[in-house]
């Protein structure tokens, strides 16, 4: 699907982001402006910015793709991404703001008064951030590939350059405006097309999405295979075209694709007949539309374990994401932090109503993606497929622009926070210049990683970043905020005990092929065992080392929990500033 409008939309989003960023440049001058937007951001702006930052490639294209392929088990992604904010609201939001921490390492140091705890938290925040940036770049590659046919690395490069330049020149103040703008852009870009698509579906007779049949081609469909693909045909079908099947070269002729598994060569181009059952990529379960709509239809070996692991990772991982934490500093006080989080919950709830609709329509209108395995593209392809002519192309362009906004905004947020961590804790370079050098570094590393990773679905990759956050930084925040007994040694041990296995599992899944081994699900969905491990180790080791409770823990607790306007804990002048 190559569309001129879509290219224009992507360009407009990229240029718009840079322009708004430059506008912010004139406002931001000092280092404190750069880092925290001078704390002059209202809850609605702030909540929109959090929403804009949080709705990533995984939310915009990934969730719809996973539900489209694997059914309702994947609905736990949107539910978990939202419920994560409820956990964050109830357990972390206000105390985190009151701690005065700008990044997670800041919190670690404020709470534990220890450079070592800070160091470990920094390394983990960096790892999580880079793990999270990787799928954004892959998603950008996929989008540009879908709308222009450009190679995958082009999209990743474009996003990296736009984001790095923007963050370097504008800093956080402009980013807040950019992010807030991005949320509303994304919501528009995903809502407007789906309204039209549902109308079209109604006009076509509101065909049932859960018929007890395999998805079928609605028209004679020409499909290009960009990668070598193993597919499984449910029934034998007659196909035409050129390419390679099971090692056999075919030039412009017909062939009966018997039922069973077939290996299709790279670059093959075949036409599948109308009404035939769609073969699917070999790693997917054999599902009719009816069985697909049932829970546990994904064909995983331990579906219940997988679902619970996903729930744990997303519910608890949100609070440990480095770019989410930063936003809380731009609230004037703890109460505003809570209200902002509540607004975010609302904004996310509205957005997440949309992706499942795309998935369900995709089963009817773009089933060939089940065969090529490019399920993440379902949101991008659907509008042009369902609506002929210029209308469909314009809607497709809108979706592509929104998707690109998603990559840009999440990457911006991540790069800002990673640059903060890098300049303060790793490079130890202060001032605006240090921040700029760190920004470049924060962008280049994940770009390099995109060249070695294996293509797994973007939402799954994001799930891994959540798992690492949930098993290392989440225990640090939860126990650090609510218990006075956590010691420096306990905090370090807990973060490492949870974070290192989760990170290892994630990297193994991403960069190697674990195939069908029984332990595959333990590695691709590690949260269910690494999160309890992190919490337990942190608490038990703390109980064993009670002599190392950080000094002044009572005073720290007062700072974390007491409302600001009471003038507690000698925070007099600072809180007076905040109010003005």
């Amino acid at each position: 699907m190559t569309s001129g409008y879509a290219i224009v939309a992507v360009l407009v989003v990229a240029l718009g982001t840079i322009l708004i960023g430059t506008y912010g440049l004139r406002v931001s001058r000092t280092t404190s402006d750069f880092y925290v937007a001078s704390r002059t951001v209202s809850p609605w702006w702030n909540a929109s910015a959090i929403g804009g930052e949080y709705l990533s490639a995984a939310s915009f294209v990934g969730i719809a793709g996973l539900i489209f392929a694997y059914g309702p088990d994947m609905l736990w992604f949107p539910v978990g991404y939202t419920a994560g904010y409820l956990v964050l609201l109830t357990m972390v939001a206000a105390p985190l703001r009151r701690s005065g921490a700008y990044t997670l390492p800041d919190f670690a140091e404020a709470r534990f008064r220890s450079r070592v705890v800070r160091g470990v938290a920094s390394v983990l925040a960096l790892a999580i951030g880079w793990l999270y940036l990787l799928p954004q770049l892959e998603g950008a590659g996929l989008t540009l590939n879908t709308v222009t046919g450009a190679p995958d690395w082009v999209g990743a490069l474009v996003v990296t350059v736009v984001v790095t330049v923007n963050v370097m020149s504008g800093g956080m103040r402009s980013i807040t405006f950019v992010q807030a703008f991005q949320y509303w852009l994304k919501l528009t870009a995903i809502t407007v097309p789906i309204v039209f698509l549902i109308v079209v579906w109604q006009v076509h007779g509101a065909e049932s999405m859960t018929k007890p049949e395999y998805p079928t081609f609605r028209h004679d469909t020409e499909v290009r295979f960009h990668n070598p693909t193993t597919i499984h045909a449910e029934k034998s079908i007659f196909i035409k075209g050129s390419g390679e099947i099971d090692g056999l070269r075919i030039e412009n002729s017909g062939l009966v694709l018997t039922d069973g598994y077939h290996r299709i060569g790279q670059g093959s181009l075949f036409t599948f007949p109308e009404g035939a059952a769609v073969p699917h990529v070999s790693t997917m379960a054999h599902n009719t539309n009816q069985t697909w709509a049932q829970p546990e239809s994904s064909g995983e070996r331990f579906p219940l374990y997988g679902v619970y692991s996903l729930i744990i990772a997303t519910f608890l991982g949100t609070m440990g994401l480095p770019h989410v934490i930063v936003r809380f500093y731009t609230n004037p006080n703890g109460t505003a932090a809570r209200r902002t989080t509540l607004i975010v919950l609302g904004l996310l709830s509205v957005f997440y109503l949309m992706p499942p609709l795309y998935s369900a329509l995709g089963r009817l209108y773009t089933p060939e993606l089940l065969m090529t395995g490019q399920t993440d593209a379902v949101v991008l392809v659907l509008p042009a497929r369902m609506i002929d002519g210029i209308g469909g192309q314009l809607l497709g362009a809108l979706v592509a622009g929104g998707a690109f906004a998603a990559f840009l905004s999440t990457s911006s947020g991540l790069v800002v926070s990673l640059a903060g961590v890098l300049s303060q804790d790793v490079l130890r370079l202060g001032g605006v210049r240090g921040f700029r050098i760190s920004t470049v570094l924060a962008g280049i590393v994940p770009l390099a990683m995109t060249f070695v990773s294996t293509g797994m679905p973007v939402a799954d990759m994001v799930g891994l970043a959540f798992a690492v956050a949930a098993s290392s930084l989440c225990p640090l925040l939860m126990l650090g905020i609510w218990s006075t007994r956590i010691t420096t040694i306990g905090a370090i041990a807990g973060m490492l005990a949870g974070g290192v296995p989760a990170l290892t599992a994630g990297l193994v899944t991403m960069f190697s092929d674990t195939g069908d081994s029984w332990y595959e699900v333990l590695l691709s969905r590690p949260a269910a065992w690494t999160v309890p491990l992190g919490f337990t180790v942190m608490y038990v080791v703390s109980l064993l080392t009670q002599r190392h409770v950080p000094p002044g823990v009572q005073r720290t607790m007062v700072k974390l929990h007491a409302p600001e306007n009471l003038g507690l804990d000698g925070s007099g002048p600072a809180s007076a500033d905040e109010r003005s």
């Binding site: 206000a94 709509a293 829970p295 919950l345 709830s349 109503l353 007062v558 007491a562």
Partner: protein, 139 residues
Amino acid sequence: MTLPPSHDDPMQNGPAQKPAQRVVVTSPRTRAPRARRPYSGTREINEQSELGAVYMRTLIRAQRRLGLSVCLVVCGSLGLLPVLFTIEPDLGKAEVFGLGLPWFLLCVATFPMLLLAGWFYVRQAERSEREFAELVERP
């Protein structure tokens, strides 16, 4: 900064040295920033006395209990769903408003519930902070 004569906290059965002539007129429900006066409770906390620690512990416990209960009720009820669908596969086939039950619950019903829980939490948390403020600012 000069400190006014010390007041005894009503929670302590202290000596009968009540500053009867002093009347503090405040409205704790005001939205305007309060003039910061070293009332007894805040000073107890700032000076890290035993009583101050008790005040803080009460607040932290109340907030922790509130946060955990909201979390447990919401996450617990959501967490039951996968088990229910496994034990009783027929539930997955049930329909509500033309949607499969799992779809209805996870796509439609969950989000308002999360919002409601969040709203309830914010209201309660702000109330308990107000009560804490009234407690420690009481002369």
